[in-house]
Amino acid sequence: MAIIEINGLSKTYSVYHKREGIAASIRGLFHRQYRSVHAVRQIDLQVDEGEFVAFLGPNGAGKTTTLKLLSGVIHPTEGTASVMGYVPWQRQTGYRRQFALVMGQKNQLWWDLPAQESFRLHQQIYQIERAAFEKTLDELVELLNLQGLLGQPVRELSLGERMKMELVAALLHSPKVLFLDEPTIGLDVVAQHNVQGFLRHYQQQRNITIMLTSHYMKDVVALCRRVVIITEGRIMYDGSLSGIIDQFGGHKLLTLQFSDEAPVDLKNFGKLVEVQSPRAKLRVDRSSVANVLGQILSKYNLVDVSVEEPPLEEVIAEVFASVNGMHEAELNKQQVLRNAGD
């Protein structure tokens, strides 16, 4: 059964459009121009209990807006959403007690006090029974290796330690649904790895539902089986990680090991990625792989050959870039039309 259900969800912000210069600023005092920003457009999405879903998208794609909508911080312009049967933006206490939102760039702990104090406060705010609270806290502290740090003022902790403390604070009330907005931002590789390991373990053990946004592909590969790609506020893709390559990876990589020097006319067969004679890497359209390989085999002596999928990050970057390209083309078109109208 779907624990999160989103239908036709849209959020449009109206933002003040300020033109450059002092004169324009003064005009802006009397006559303001507003511009609509469609942060999220007509999103439909179902997430089942126990799923770990990644939201991927370039900056400004609508990932954070979607998480804010689901957390009830903002309400939508259009559409409906239900999380555990609640409408998030009604902000009922019953709902607020059962989910958590962790933002990598915001902190919720009391800066000058040891994290322990913030945890006590959470125990009270969320009405967690003492025994349950202590058990959960011990467990989280052990999993995240935070022993000995609970009594230290938060401001004296490293960024990685602080992020872990944020996670503890968010999980103390054992939320059924967890929204993570770039939880590993700014962390070093080791800390990232620790946080990933913890999230994977915790999610499997508790079978909670997690939606994560991240810019690090490593987070996504390590944690999520399901990926939703969102660009320009629209869902471009919803499925498995490997499915992204099937759908968007328009080419494959051929690695050819020749018995002699690598031939010079290879570029006629596809795009040369790398040549280290006698080895060469060639990028070939998915549809013509068999054809190209046949031609090369009949023409040259090969020692070894392999056909690989392109790297995931590259494919996703291409998906983002293609959308940005479309966007820029659209803007240019508008500019031309406007100029023509002037």
């Binding site: 902000r91 206490t93 009391w110 969320y126």
Partner: protein, 274 residues
């Protein structure tokens, strides 16, 4: 509007934790208290010169001694009703999005701020009581003895109400940040008016018309002038009861205004920002 936790244990924990947090800044408090007495020295010297020139006449019923006692008592009133960094703090939270915390967690922002402010004040009094006691002891000659019990009880009540009024007034200004983002100029204007019309600068009885009537009609006099008048025995009996009732009415009025601002502010925030 969401129902939020009203468990006393929750509020007690918030109180205890903010008490601890405030104690981190105890040195800053101690220094701040000492600084409070500095402006009063110049005021006292000024009035000394005025009364010497008047050769025994009073000003609006005040003799030199009364004036010094007045300024010292105004300091106590202000120690209850001034709310350093409350408005800016709220506006800042709205601007940088920290306010989200109160939309996500099952906790009420205004209740939370009130409790933390009580803790803040208690730590402040704990530290300020030393310097205050010293100054009042040294200046005991300016007072004509202790007031009676009824007056003292009235005075204590008016101080508590002054605290609540100061809190809701400044919290309200901070919540305007939902509409304007930056409230510092608004706060500056408020502080300026407050300085004159709360009786901080001089006793309001000295104001000419129409200013005296204006000062009577608006709530600012209850922040410092009114409690001081109560202590000095200038407001007694029925007038005292009536004054305290009006002070309480203003507290309730601004508490309601805060609720309304919060309600519509959050709606606006969730429609536009986030």
């Amino acid at each position: 509007m969401p129902v939020t936790s009203v468990n006393p244990q929750t509020w007690w924990t918030i109180f205890r934790i903010s008490l601890e947090e405030r104690l981190v800044y105890r040195a800053d408090f101690a220094l701040g208290t000492l600084m409070r007495f500095i402006p009063i020295v110049t005021q006292v010297l000024l009035w000394q010169a005025i009364f010497e020139a008047l050769k025994g006449d009073d000003v609006a019923g005040y003799q030199y001694n009364d004036i010094v006692a007045y300024y010292l008592l105004v300091l106590i009133g202000r120690a209850f009703s001034s709310m350093p960094n409350l408005s800016e703090g709220i506006a800042q939270q709205i601007r940088d999005g920290q306010i989200k915390k109160f939309l996500i967690q099952p906790i009420d922002l205004i209740g939370f701020l009130l409790i933390t402010r009580v803790a803040h004040k208690i730590v402040y009094y704990g530290i300020a009581i030393g310097p205050f006691a010293l100054v009042f002891y040294l200046c005991r000659g300016f007072f004509s003895g202790w007031p009676d019990t009824v007056t003292l009880a009235g005075y204590a009540t008016s101080l508590v109400l002054a605290f609540l009024l100061g809190f809701f007034l400044e919290a309200f200004i901070g919540l305007i940040g939902f509409w304007f983002l930056e409230v510092s100029s608004l706060l500056f204007v408020y502080m300026l008016i407050n300085y004159f019309l709360s009786g901080h600068m001089f006793p309001l009885a000295m104001l000419p018309e129409p200013w005296a009537s204006i000062a009577q009609a608006i709530p600012l006099q209850y922040l410092a002038y009114f409690p001081t008048q109560v202590f000095l025995g200038k407001i007694q009996g029925e007038m005292l009861t009536w004054g305290l009732t009006i002070q309480l009415a203003w507290v309730i009025c601004f508490a309601i205004l805060c609720r309304i601002a919060m309600h519509y502010g959050v709606r606006r925030y969730s429609a536009f920002g986030g």
